[in-house]
Symmetry: C2
């Protein structure tokens, strides 16, 4: 019999090269009750098939990654991004998750207007909130590490994400707390308390390793392999009353080249060791 | 006749492979009035010779890099770091600069106690303040980009640096505003205003380029080559009344492999174009 990992969910990106069917099987066999999905492998099989595979697996979907990328200037690109986010909300609803994770996007090509790009994130959320409410899916704004400010996400602290999220109903907009992106922030514990269980839609664990791998998009480490102390962060999240999923999402070439089952077992072991005792 | 670059100073690290004598000559011939020095090339020729070379050059020394690295736990390593900072204060005084730039250090090996390391930065400054006042040299606390929190510097925002600096007399402790490290911070303009001309000891310009070079320590770009809008940051610094040096410090393998005189001319050109109009 496989162990039970309770609130711990395997994000599919941690076993990136697995197809949807493989990922569901790996998670189930490793004792997970839930999995976080990505849109690309879902789209590979088509939404109907994906929904059927998920139903068969018996797994709950903790989140869908990802919407966002809506910092483009007014025009066709921005309209297309908003439409794509509406499709993503529908996909999330069909897959049975209430959480669509958003990576909000970096500076538009050639632009240095960081403040403007940040304003457009709020504007895009305002446009999408009615769709989110209709779909019963929350837009989960994920602040990304400041090293991605130029090219991935102009929202870089939890405080900044909350300044935006708080303009909208909690049923429509929440925030993701990802240790890799936020661990360095001297204001993090206070901002987690501010977020509260109302706004936190996902708690994601992932370590910061050094030296940084050459590709900074693949710089994440297995919890316990790096510099982050998961105890105070987890206690702060638990203190809000947050009772939702805890996902592990790792972008790392070495992890991706390790057999899926091994990865699924390893990150669960680290969760039980480093995170669960502090919940 | 060479142009005059006014308040703009060439940090020696921008032409890293130049000896002290070469760096002084390059800066003077390119029309600089001042240069920021590093301790290693100074120590290579010895302090007495360095002082003589500087006097001969006619250049003013805008800063000395670097002290710091004092996050070690109580013990021999920490005592040695404090002693080394005292030597650095003396070197700065002898070289005629009032600014010793501090890179405060990352987590001690094997430690995940980020809060503790941050407390020890304040403790180290407290220990060094009398020496700084005696030397007439300010300890210039430099917040480094959050991507260096684990291995280089646990002080990562201007607000955090000011929380520490404000515990000490302005004559003893100031802060460095470096665009590369701080540009992403949504609270930056407010924190620059908070710092004021009293606390800002150095304004350093350097760009954020993408994709990030494989070695994240060498990720800096020539102003204008990247994503930073220097106008609002420079206006914010100028609005405080800051009238001190503006340095360009670039760690970048391509820049280091370019002829020194070319680099000195290029960064000055960018200063005149992107920064000076906003002072």
């Amino acid at each position: 019999m496989s162990p039970d990992h309770g609130r711990f969910s395997l994000n599919q990106a941690t076993i990136k090269y697995a197809s949807l069917a493989e990922a569901l099987q790996v998670a189930r066999e490793a004792g997970y009750r839930s999995i976080g999905l990505w849109r690309e492998p879902v789209q590979e099989v088509g939404l109907d098939t994906a929904v059927a595979l998920v139903a068969e697996s018996g797994l709950r979907i903790s989140s869908l990654c990802r919407g966002g990328f809506f910092t483009a200037l007014e025009g066709a690109e921005r309209a297309a991004a908003l439409d794509d986010n509406r499709r993503a909300l529908d996909e999330a609803h069909r897959l049975g998750t209430d959480t669509l994770v958003l990576v909000c996007g970096g500076l538009p090509a050639g632009s240095r207007d960081l403040a403007g790009a940040r304003r457009r994130v709020g504007d895009a959320l305002a446009a999408l909130v009615p769709d989110a409410l209709a779909a019963g899916v929350r837009l989960a704004l994920e602040p990304l590490h400041p090293m991605y400010a130029a090219d991935r996400a102009v929202i870089n602290t939890l405080g900044q994400a909350l300044d935006i999220a708080e303009q909208f109903p909690v049923q429509a907009v929440g925030v993701v707390v990802d240790t890799f992106h936020l661990w360095w922030d001297p204001d993090l514990l206070a901002q987690i308390a501010r977020a509260g269980s109302d706004r936190i839609t996902s708690y994601q664990i992932c370590d910061w390793i050094t030296p940084m791998p050459a590709d900074n998009l693949l710089a994440r480490g297995v919890p316990g392999d790096g510099h982050i102390d998961f105890a105070p962060l987890t206690r702060a999240v638990a203190a809000t009353g947050y009772a939702g999923d805890i996902e592990c999402e790792i972008f790392n070439a070495d992890v991706w080249n390790t057999p899926y089952a091994e990865v699924a077992a390893l990150v669960a072991e680290r969760y039980h060791q480093l995170v669960e005792p502090h919940l």
